[in-house]
């Protein structure tokens, strides 16, 4: 009887540890996010180099977080207006995407290559949450994944008000993500 219990325990523990080994969390604190809302001749673009992101290879759960005050513009005045008049970054200091890579099962993380990726989740900007779906790419190089993707957001959908939206500032801002993950 004792032997049977020992064997059952061994099987359970082996299975448990295998499951632990099977799951991998990839993370970065220095991903990149590019923002472009140029509506006319004037370039309204910024980059954030401190994107914090994590994802799980088993179920594709992903989180991408970014601080609004971390966006750097070429023009300081533009950066100040972006923070104060549009994003109100003292009140809403971060933007976040929480969701899933829906086709994560189709990605072979052990094999170098480029894989299309479908994302679905909730994007929160300026304190307003919206459901979003978008496509991107996951590239595996030497076991390390890089997520790239580009999508547009309607500025007014996120309760962002201010002058010049639809004129100098485009109605839709283009967001480009480029995150190299470590494991």
């Amino acid at each position: 009887m004792k032997i049977i219990i020992k064997i059952v325990c061994l099987i359970v523990f082996t299975n448990f540890s295998l499951q632990l080994n099977a799951q991998k969390i990839y993370a970065t604190k220095t991903g990149q996010l590019f923002f472009n809302a140029s509506g006319g001749i004037e370039k309204i673009a910024a980059v954030n180099n401190q994107v914090d992101s994590k994802f799980k290879d088993v179920d594709g759960q992903i989180i991408i977080g970014v601080l609004i005050k971390g966006f750097k513009f070429e023009n300081q005045l533009m950066e100040d207006h972006f923070n104060e008049n549009y994003m109100e970054s003292s009140q809403f200091p971060k933007a976040e995407f929480k969701g899933y890579i829906k086709n994560v099962k189709e990605i072979d993380f052990s094999k170098d290559g480029k894989y299309p990726a479908n994302f679905e989740g909730t994007l929160t900007i300026h304190g307003v949450a919206q459901k979003v779906t978008t496509t991107g790419q996951i590239e595996i190089a030497q076991g390390k994944p890089t997520i790239t993707g580009e999508f547009s957001v309607k500025i007014k959908d996120f309760g962002i008000k201010g002058l010049y939206i639809g004129e100098k500032i485009a109605n839709e801002a283009k967001i480009r993500v480029n995150c190299k993950y470590q494991n």
């Binding site: 220095t30 990149q32 180099n49 914090d52 977080g65 005050k69 971390g70 023009n75 005045l77 200091p93």
Partner: protein, 135 residues
């Protein structure tokens, strides 16, 4: 006639000044946190403030020049090539993540005490300091 010329000249001067400030000065002059008076705080105290109450900590530190001290946990480079370092305690859940202006490799070693001055941009999984310079 003289009056009209003076008014026109003033309008032109004001328009010129506005144009210069918006498109020339603002493009070439960025905020220099290094010339600002900084709030001096240890990495552990800054992290604890954010973990205890993020909103209250933002009121004190967000967008302010901060001089943070602590021990180096890791050094790295971001995707744009800037040097980065993590300061705090090895066993802590959150620490202070700093991105330097410089792209040069950090000469200090892991475990070394360090003081960095930069701008606090808020809290994600760590407290984030941007535009940092090693003191």
């Amino acid at each position: 006639m003289k009056k009209i010329s003076y008014i026109l000249l003033s309008i032109l001067l004001i328009a010129g000044a506005v144009y210069y400030y918006t498109f020339v000065y603002a493009k070439n002059h960025h905020r220099d946190a290094q010339s600002e008076t900084a709030i001096k705080i240890s990495a552990d105290a800054l992290t604890a403030a954010y973990q205890n109450n993020e909103q209250a900590a933002n009121k004190l530190y967000l967008n302010k020049a901060i001089e943070v001290s602590g021990n180096i946990l890791t050094t790295n480079k971001d995707q744009a090539g800037h040097s980065t370092l993590l300061i705090g305690k090895a066993d802590a859940f959150s620490n202070v993540s700093v991105t330097l202006i410089s792209t040069e490799n950090i000469s200090k070693k892991i475990g070394d005490p360090v003081i960095v001055k930069g701008v606090c941009t808020g809290y994600l999984s760590d407290v984030i300091i941007n535009e940092g310079v090693l003191k």
